[in-house]
Symmetry: C2
Subunit: 436 residues, 2 copies
């Protein structure tokens, strides 16, 4: 399956919301990503919204504005106005697409301005957009897997299953927060390479991981796998995800059953979910070395090689407490791209369900750390500092091998393609607090 371009993708479209027409906005009228929000400082309930420039279209405020729209769009807006986006996610691609078309027409510069449907983003509070039933984290960057494998297993960096199996594991849903999340540095057991016994204390090797989040739309019944060719119809959209990781806890605990306390203390996602329809003009060829094995049939599908991937730039910025105090802007420490992913989003869903596992609307999948082939495309400090051996120097002269208390990590994502405008994912930021 690949989504056909339609009138909502027309690069010439402009909006009566002036801030949506500036070249550097993440949210032109061609994007229209979803969020869950409320007006800040009021005891309002959360409801769905759609970004346009520096404003949010409140789905709860749309009623009259959609009077002449497709009934499917009207009912999708009603579902989206609920206290989370699960029902809208469950409604499926026809409903999502109808709502997108109706919103595109409503917001175009030749339509009547309706400021009453807007809330300024500056006045909004965001929340995790869905009740996440299950969260799964994958490991789709071969560059990350190889670099990290070298640190944990120098003689055996890339395991034999990697080029066959989209490796994944279940993560923690209860500690997923939205951009702005803070957390106390986790404490736990660690053991030095030359020590006989572990010690207990705050993590000394705290890291981030640059990932793309995938929100599942309509799920599948237990026992009924999703076919790879049909899998993108089950994806509501993509967001940014920071999989905070305590490397010293991870090294001691991860065998034989995988990461646990080293990951489950916090995971932060961006408030905005960019739909696959919005991303249709920005697809990328699937990247794989000619010598690599072909995917097994259940992981193959017609559009895989031409356009299985997504060309999304992914940026990591770091601002320390001292930089914040001195008014120094967050510094870019990495720039990668989702097109480097060894497995596609459709392959992840097909693999996840091929054994009969049930996905549900609102489930979240993480792509795994999106490191690219070059050192400056590393998606974690573990890789960037060669396992803590090569410090990173920041604009004010501070150095980092791992994160210090007070550090804020911000991730941004965007894409552009030919005559199609730049569309963005906004940002996901999170800050490390001292251990308790």
């Amino acid at each position: 399956m690949s989504i056909q371009l339609n009138e909502t993708h027309d690069p010439a479209l402009r909006s009566w919301v002036a801030s949506a027409n500036t070249p550097d906005t993440d949210f032109p009228i061609q994007n229209l990503p979803f969020c869950l929000f409320r007006r800040a400082g009021r005891n309002a309930v959360f409801g769905g919204g759609v970004a346009i420039g520096d404003q949010i279209v409140s789905l709860a405020a749309l009623g009259r504005a959609l009077e002449d729209a497709d009934p499917l769009a009207r009912s999708a807006a009603v579902l989206g106005a609920r206290s989370n986006l699960n029902a809208l996610m469950d409604a499926g691609p026809a409903a999502w697409s109808a709502l997108r078309l109706a919103l595109s027409r409503l917001l175009r510069s030749d339509a009547a301005p309706r400021p009453e449907i807007l809330v300024p983003q500056a006045e909004a509070e965001f929340a995790v957009p869905a009740q996440i039933g299950d969260y799964t984290d994958f490991y789709t960057s071969i560059h990350h897997a190889t670099a990290v494998g070298k640190l944990f297993r120098p003689d055996n960096p890339l395991l034999p299953n990697y080029k066959w199996v989209p490796i994944g594991y279940h993560g923690r849903a209860s500690t997923i927060g939205v951009s702005g999340q803070t957390f106390h540095r986790p404490r736990g057991q660690t053991r030095g390479a030359t020590e006989a016994e572990p010690v207990f204390g705050p993590s000394k090797r705290l890291d981030y991981e640059l990932e793309v989040g995938i929100f599942v739309g309509g799920g599948n019944a237990r026992g009924e796998p999703i076919e790879a060719a049909d899998a993108e119809r089950h994806v509501f959209g993509l967001c940014l995800l920071n999989d905070w990781s305590a490397r010293d806890l991870q090294a001691w605990e991860y065998q034989p059953l995988g990461p646990f306390l080293s990951k489950n203390f916090a995971t932060t996602i961006s408030p905005w979910i960019v739909t696959l329809e919005a991303l249709a003009p920005y697809r990328a060829a699937w990247q794989r070395d000619a010598a690599d094995p072909q995917p097994l049939p259940y992981l193959d599908y017609p559009s895989l090689r031409d356009s299985g991937g997504f060309d999304i730039e992914l940026e990591v910025l770091l601002q320390t407490a001292a930089m914040r105090r001195d008014g120094i802007a967050p510094a870019r420490i990495s720039l990668s791209n989702f097109r480097h992913s060894y497995w596609t989003v459709a392959q992840l869903l097909a693999h996840h369900t091929v054994n009969g596992c049930a996905l549900q609307a609102g489930d979240l999948l993480g792509s795994g750390t999106q490191s690219g082939p070059q050192p400056e495309e590393a998606g974690s400090l573990l890789e960037m500092t060669a396992g803590g051996k090569q410090p990173l120097t920041l604009p004010n002269g501070e150095q980092r091998i791992f994160l210090e208390d007070g550090d804020t990590i911000e991730m941004r994502g965007w894409t552009k393609a030919g005559r199609h405008p730049r569309i963005g994912f906004g940002a996901v930021a999170g800050t490390v607090l001292p251990a308790r």
Copy 2:
């Protein structure tokens, strides 16, 4: 913390429900386990219930019967009558205990019989009792870890972290079902030891795992660990759990991030949750070799050594399709005991939250396979057949190394102690259907 015995534990208590007074019932008046049920064959909604003999007390039917009870018991009954037990689980130990006392008094042989509050278990359908936010599976049997380790890593069976870290990993909540669950044999990638490439097909090494499930009661806020000494106040109760496992999928996929598709196609739990208060007379000393390390301080607490464990017999029965056809009863293939667990329930909660991870009411923890030290106490076929090398012979002459289509695995659990009566967990059964 340890729960004091009170009038509800009095071994002399009898009930006006005659079936509760037979010596072999799982559900005498000293037990009173919770479930979620409805009358079968009607479009009734699910609500909470409590077992007494072969009957269920419907919490929704209690209203007038609790008129003279403690208001805390009355409000707990109202919470328990909802469409899942999450609110009752969240209400905390004082509420659970008040409801137990009120039910005990209501059901005693010297109270007025109230048949209108009862539904026969034979007329009930059960459901997973809570909306499970997150499911975590542990690995608390050192006998299982050693036996399985020998098969996967002959030179290194027990990893260095085992005696320090209560090893656990996140599992799949969406595929947890209640006793009676069936599932199609999972398909997936496997690779033979001597093969260069994997193949795709139905699992040939399908197994069960004998586990105890732990339902979390009141949770903790993110960033605020649960102390080991206080941890049992956060446990609503225990059930039986079968962690179905596809060993051939597991061997190929599990490195480096742990089991995924080999486990997440189905997990089956018993309908009954036995509360920690009911289990107070049946505690066991914590078992650990004198040469083993002492637990780190966050895993230690006053009652650990005397009564940290639970003396719960755990039985596995197998009935093949041929046995069912020929009227041959399920055959016992294993008898183990939860007292062999290397880590206690309180230690699991303390460990899970020490990094700040948030538990929520309704979360489920699995104990991991409860194998004992003797071969006949093995909690999985993988161990019992030495990795598929020594077939098991059944009463009708059939042999098994792993599960075949049509096999039903049933697990039972019970305990008794001195003058305290036998109380039981009922059963969890599940049946393998052919691959699709």
